[in-house]
């Protein structure tokens, strides 16, 4: 079960041919895959392409009807290796993941795939997680395209172009026997737009047909001497075939400019930057809202390979061109320089000299870069042109950011990074680690990818490194030496199944690693949207779940293993951690800390609870609270929790200046705050309120009896107070 249900979106996959599709970019890609007659789709979820996987997971019926096989792969390496089905058979296959991290994981299989080449079209849809909102290192997928020779599509970010790129991509792949990568930038994945649909197509050749008619060709396998031949084949056959296809099918686009400027200058850009470039030109008075531009453009919807002849055609007629290429190294710019130099073309090529080498190319950055380029090579373009159209209001040259009152905001506007959700079961694990630190001192902690990585942020401030998904335990491997303190590694259940079982646990057993490994088992791949994994507890009709991590860990030979099946038991977790850090027992000390991801749990139990309430069943809802008059306003509880629902409010007491802790209505009753207050011996101000819905007659009777006695005593004491009240 994923975080969002896509049952509604799945309906859009059935839109008949010729009708308008309106929706999110990633959904349009999914529709385009079906229109292309894809035979199988696989992948590993992660922003920004999680939705593609989630939609397909929810689209079982339609996939079955079309005969399309879908797999949620164990990792990106698995997904890439899945493409092997298209090596010998004319089956179109698509895989998807978050890049560049996923491409790193997949690159072994990709390199093998690209070496031998493909028969059926293979499309690798990469969610390029770059720029604002990104959660990974800032690198380019472009390098992978170059090193393994796969073609890289970067279409203009409108749904028409993106859908067209999917269909073209398969054809290009088949025409050149080469895998094709389709780069989807974060905003393109989430853009809402429209396109006219075509009919969904059944795969022309099915996986079943392939199984029944197996084929092999040693020449396609990466073994000498074939592997040496592959390299030559790549440059002699596949490259020219691709160039021919790209030219003939006009995958790259030329946009005419105004004849006043066309002989002077032009812009070359990655397709994905197109909308931003048009807006930048518009802000300079050189374009309108419909893509009409005075400056001519050469839009590279295929950013690899670069088509030499197209580049020369565009450059030869002009004195200077500007290349807009996001990210570094500036591969395309270097490539263009080589093309111009070899052709002895004197056209000036500007690029990273007027644009920043690193960082996201925002509209503002590109506007300034284009303005600098035009000022040098076509200053008349920047002079206000007589125009029939009233030019739209232009932003001030100097943004208001420098206004003293706005600069002063730096002292009040807090950083707001992502953090653990309300009620997150991972929070108590790190609260326990803080308590262990207080008892045993600081330890080296290796983190992993996943929600648990938020432990590096306040209020926990735990963790020294993160080396990659599932590599938490592996990244402590060197610390397998005798010392006063053991290293602690953290790994999520998602990372565990992705590769951590072998790279971390197996490695630790084999090398007699002496440290502590905490596996956070929250029943889902939570950070990527709550997808099911091997150890998920839910019954999934399409997948085999309920395979416990504990069995796998024991299976690879771990002897010291503790399972804490309720992470909210902070004291028990603390004691377990302390035991693991101090036990004389050799070998890895593995703790599996289990509780269900609260986001998913709420989605699961809320409807059940509401239904029970409606049906008149006796149900108890738990919530936590703080007695404002008992709370002293020190906020130690917050420093060990950070729960969004544990917040502050005015004490309401003139004698108490500092705000007191307060649990707001978003509390889900996980109990972490009370457990922490207890385990850390903080204060008695927390309470749990059990709200009993639909009490039975017995409940009501008992409540009446209790109320009578308690009420009597309370009134007695209140009367005494009232007697002396001021």
């Amino acid at each position: 079960m994923a975080e969002r249900s896509f049952k509604k979106e799945v309906g859009q996959l059935r839109i008949p041919a010729g009708e308008e599709f309106r929706g999110e970019g990633i959904l349009a890609v999914t529709k385009a895959l079906l229109q292309s007659g894809v035979g199988y789709v696989a992948g590993y979820q992660g922003s920004p392409i999680s939705h593609l996987m989630d939609v397909l997971a929810d689209a079982k019926d339609i996939l079955d009807e079309l005969g399309v096989h879908f797999e949620a792969s164990a990792s990106e390496a698995t997904a890439a290796a899945t493409l092997a089905a298209s090596v010998m058979y004319p089956i179109r296959g698509a895989v998807t993941w978050k890049s560049t991290v996923g491409t790193n994981v997949a690159s072994d299989a990709l390199a093998n795939l690209a070496s031998g080449g493909v028969t059926g079209g293979t499309l690798i849809i990469i969610g390029e997680d770059y720029g604002e909102g990104s959660s990974i290192m800032q690198e380019r997928s472009h390098a992978f395209a170059m090193k393994s020779q796969m073609w890289l599509l970067d279409p203009r970010p409108n749904l028409e172009s993106i859908v067209q790129a999917v269909e073209d991509g398969f054809e290009l792949s088949e025409a050149s026997h080469t895998p094709v990568m389709l780069e989807m930038r974060v905003r393109s994945c989430h853009v809402h737009g429209r396109f006219i649909t075509r009919e969904n197509r059944r795969p022309a050749f099915t996986l079943a047909e392939a199984l029944e008619n197996p084929k092999r060709d040693v020449g396609r396998i990466v073994l000498p001497p074939a592997s040496f031949a592959h390299e030559h084949e790549k440059v002699r056959e596949r490259w020219p075939a691709a160039v021919k296809f790209i030219r003939e099918r006009k995958l790259n686009e030329f946009f005419d400019g105004d004849e006043d400027y066309a002989s002077d200058v032009g812009l070359i850009l990655q397709g994905g930057l197109y909308n931003g470039v048009i807006r930048a030109l518009q802000l300079l008075g050189l374009a309108d809202s419909f893509g009409n531009t005075r400056i001519p453009l050469y839009v590279m919807n295929v950013t690899y390979p670069v088509i030499d002849d197209e580049v020369l055609e565009f450059c030869k007629a002009r004195r200077a061109v500007l290349l807009l290429e996001e990210g570094q190294p500036e591969f395309i710019e270097q490539n263009l320089h080589a093309i111009l130099r070899r052709a002895a073309c004197a056209t000036v090529l500007a690029g990273k000299d007027v644009l920043p080498m690193a960082g996201e190319y925002t509209t503002e950055v590109m506007r300034d870069g284009i303005a600098a380029f035009l000022a040098a090579h076509a200053p008349h373009a920047l002079a206000p042109a007589p125009t029939a159209v009233a030019s739209p209001p232009q932003p001030a040259a100097v943004p208001l950011r420098f206004h003293p009152k706005i600069a002063a905001l730096a002292t009040v506007v807090p950083a707001r990074p992502a953090g653990f959700c309300t009620g997150c079961p991972e929070r108590p694990i790190f609260a326990a680690m803080k308590l262990v630190e207080a008892d045993l001192g600081e330890h080296h902690i290796s983190c992993d990818i996943g929600c648990h990585l938020f432990s590096i942020l306040p209020p926990f401030n735990l963790g020294a490194t993160t080396m990659g998904y599932g590599l938490g335990a592996a990244s402590s491997a060197a610390f397998n030496v005798k010392g006063g303190r053991r290293a602690i590694s953290v790994m999520g259940d998602g990372g565990f199944w992705h590769n951590g079982l072998a790279s971390g646990i197996g490695n630790a057993v084999f090398n007699k690693y002496d440290g502590v490994i905490v596996i956070v088992d929250n029943f889902y791949a939570s950070a990527t949207g709550g997808q099911d994994i091997l150890s998920s507890r839910a019954d999934n009709p399409d997948r085999a779940t309920n395979n416990p991590i504990e069995a796998a860990v024991r299976g690879v030979g771990v002897k010291w293993l503790r399972v804490v099946d309720r992470t909210y038991d902070v004291a028990r977790l603390r004691d377990t951690l302390e035991e693991a850090l101090t036990t004389p027992e050799p070998g890895p000390k593995v703790i599996i800390a289990q509780s269900e991801c609260m986001l998913n749990k709420q989605r699961r139990v809320k409807p059940i609870f509401n239904k029970a309430v409606k049906a008149g069943e006796r149900v108890v809802k738990e919530r936590f609270g703080v007695d404002a008059d008992v709370c002293s306003g020190d906020h130690a509880c917050i420093r060990l929790s950070g729960c969004p629902s544990l917040t502050l409010k005015d004490s309401g007491d003139p004698l108490k200046e500092d705000p007191v802790a307060y649990v707001d209505a978003s509390c889900v009753g996980c109990g972490n705050c009370g457990e922490v207050a207890d385990a850390a011996v903080l204060c008695p101000s927390f309470y749990r309120a059990d709200i009993l819905h639909n009490p039975t007659r017995r409940d009501r009777l008992l409540a009446r009896v209790r109320g009578a006695v308690i009420g009597f005593l309370q009134r007695r004491r209140a009367a005494r107070l009232a007697g002396s009240a001021l």
Partner: protein, 533 residues
């Protein structure tokens, strides 16, 4: 070859929505798209949610353009995927600091931008974690908004949503409609909610929408600053009980008007904590301090010393002991407050469970002073308590056994003045007031600061110990500073440093600087946690 290019008219409306993950910024963006498309507009939205979905700050960006313009141009529009600073018509912030962030990003400009923001706060971890008060000044944002926006609308849209039983996206949508910044009628907004909703949520959303709409429609041209003042208690004409009247009369007769509100608060606290006699004792102590204040020229300082003492002596005398906690937990008013806070309906039953963790110190503190002291030192008793008693206890206050146990503990108040804890607290207070008295003769302002330092002592167990130690260090510093012209200001800074972080790094650094020589104020640093985005 090429021709002249004709640029066509048509400028999209640019909208940025700043929200935190989980606030429904995406829902709001989808509503606007839906409404615009029904009205025959091109609408594009995009965002970069990523992990920001998990409570982080994020931006949704929209552009809207009439389809008629696209028809006239003969081409589909090319719309931007991200906001350009200074080029946004409408900025909507789902939380006050996110409005601040929008301005920091340059999205708000006086020529163009309507800025609609909710004034409610969702405090950042750094604000919440400060041991004192780390909450940022909201009026800096409102102030900047007045300078940066063409029009600023700010009101508590979160509270409106809660009042309507809905979520903030609905009241924000209403505020956009009410601000009349988009070319769509109210009905178009409401139809969007109606048709996009899922059954039960629709009515609540429409109520929240209406509240937001009305607030925006009636919004003043210039919003007033947010009221962040903490009101002082009123000094009543008459006391609620005849016994308290005498104390009230004494306050009015013997004390300057400036100190009276805090004295009333102090008396109320101590009557509530112990009894009238204890409150009278407090007033007597304060009387002595008022005389000291007068001798030291307090009238020229608006009786700062008496005012500070009125607050802190009351807090010191009403220390949090087991008796106090048991009392507060068992009151009828508390039962009612809990019901209210958890939103229980009349046909529902509510039972509370308290998380208690009595330690040896607390148990001994409740015993008669001499016995308590002896047992505290006894290894056998201490071991017994640690093994048998000192662990987390869950007390159910709604059951008879749980309630009666706490009720009886609260009833021990009649023995309180004989307890070990009382002896410790009283001795501590006498030391502190003696120091204040001594210092006041030489440095009035420093004496006031010495009183204010009492703010550091709060909480229970480890928290209390830590506050106690810091307080002691500041008292030593006060002695050291005595005689210096900047003594009071320096102690004030040290007090702020002591409240800045739990580990005490800020205080260590400042104390070290102080010991090295003449105190030089450190370079102005940002308050902890208020790191710019």
């Amino acid at each position: 070859m090429m021709n002249r290019i004709t640029l066509h008219p048509g400028t999209p409306i640019r909208i940025a929505i700043l929200a935190m993950g989980g606030q429904g910024g995406g829902v709001l963006a989808d509503w606007i798209v839906e409404m615009a498309e029904r009205a025959g507009w091109w609408a594009q939205t995009s965002s970069v949610p990523g992990v920001a979905q998990r409570t982080g700050a994020t931006v949704y960006y929209l552009e809207l353009l009439p389809e008629s313009a696209a028809h006239a141009a003969g081409r589909a529009p090319v719309l931007a995927m991200m906001p350009t600073p200074g080029d946004v018509d409408l900025v909507v912030a789902a939380e006050l600091m996110e409005a601040g962030r929008a301005m920091q990003r340059g999205l708000v400009t006086p020529e163009r931008t309507t800025l609609i923001t909710s004034t409610h706060r969702s405090y950042a971890v750094a604000e919440k974690a400060a041991p004192g008060n780390g909450i940022a000044d909201p009026n800096k944002v409102v102030d900047a908004g007045r300078a940066a926006a063409k029009r600023l609308l700010c009101f508590d849209l979160q509270q409106m949503a809660e009042r309507a039983g809905s979520v903030i996206s609905a009241s924000l949508f209403g505020a956009i409609a009410g601000a009349k910044v988009l070319p769509f009628a109210r009905a178009a907004f409401e139809d969007t909610i109606r048709d996009g909703g899922v059954g039960v949520g629709v009515e609540a959303s429409l109520r929240a929408f209406a509240l937001g709409f009305d607030a925006a429609a009636a919004a003043p041209a210039e919003p007033a600053p947010l009221d962040t003042a903490r009101p002082l208690p009123d000094v009543p004409e008459r006391a609620a009980s005849p016994q308290a009247q005498a104390l009230l009369d004494a306050v009015k007769r013997d004390f300057p008007a400036a100190a009276q509100p805090m004295l009333v608060a102090g008396l109320r606290r101590l009557i509530d904590f112990q009894d009238l006699a204890y409150a009278a004792e407090y007033l007597q102590t304060l009387g002595t301090l008022r005389e000291l204040d007068e001798r030291s020229g307090g009238s020229a300082h608006d009786w700062a010393l008496t005012r500070a003492a009125a607050r802190h002596v009351a807090v010191a005398m009403s220390y949090d002991d087991v008796i106090r906690v048991a009392d507060l937990k068992t009151r009828g008013s508390r039962f009612a407050r809990v019901r209210n806070e958890v939103g229980a309906k009349s046909d529902q039953l509510v039972y509370t469970t308290e998380f208690m963790h009595p330690r040896l110190e607390e148990i001994c503190g409740t015993l008669p002073a001499r016995l308590g002291r002896r047992l505290e030192k006894s290894k056998a008793f201490g071991g017994f308590i640690r093994r048998r008693v000192e662990h987390g206890r869950r007390v159910k206050t709604g059951t008879l056994t749980g309630f009666v146990a706490l009720y009886c503990a609260a009833g021990m108040r009649r023995f309180r003045r004989g307890t070990l804890r009382h002896a410790i607290e009283t001795a501590h207070m006498h030391d502190w007031l003696a120091r204040t008295t001594r210092i006041a003769a030489a440095d009035y302002a420093l004496a006031v600061e010495v009183l204010e330092c009492r703010r550091l002592i709060k909480g229970y167990s480890g928290t209390h110990d830590r506050g106690d130690k810091r307080f002691a260090r500041l008292m030593d510093a006060a002695e050291q500073l005595l005689g210096r012209a900047d003594a009071a200001a320096t102690l004030h800074r040290l007090r702020d440093a002591a409240l800045a972080d739990e580990a005490g790094h800020a205080l260590d650094a400042q104390l070290a600087a102080l010991l090295r020589g003449p105190f030089t104020p450190p370079q102005e640093t940002r308050r902890p946690g208020h790191v710019a985005a």
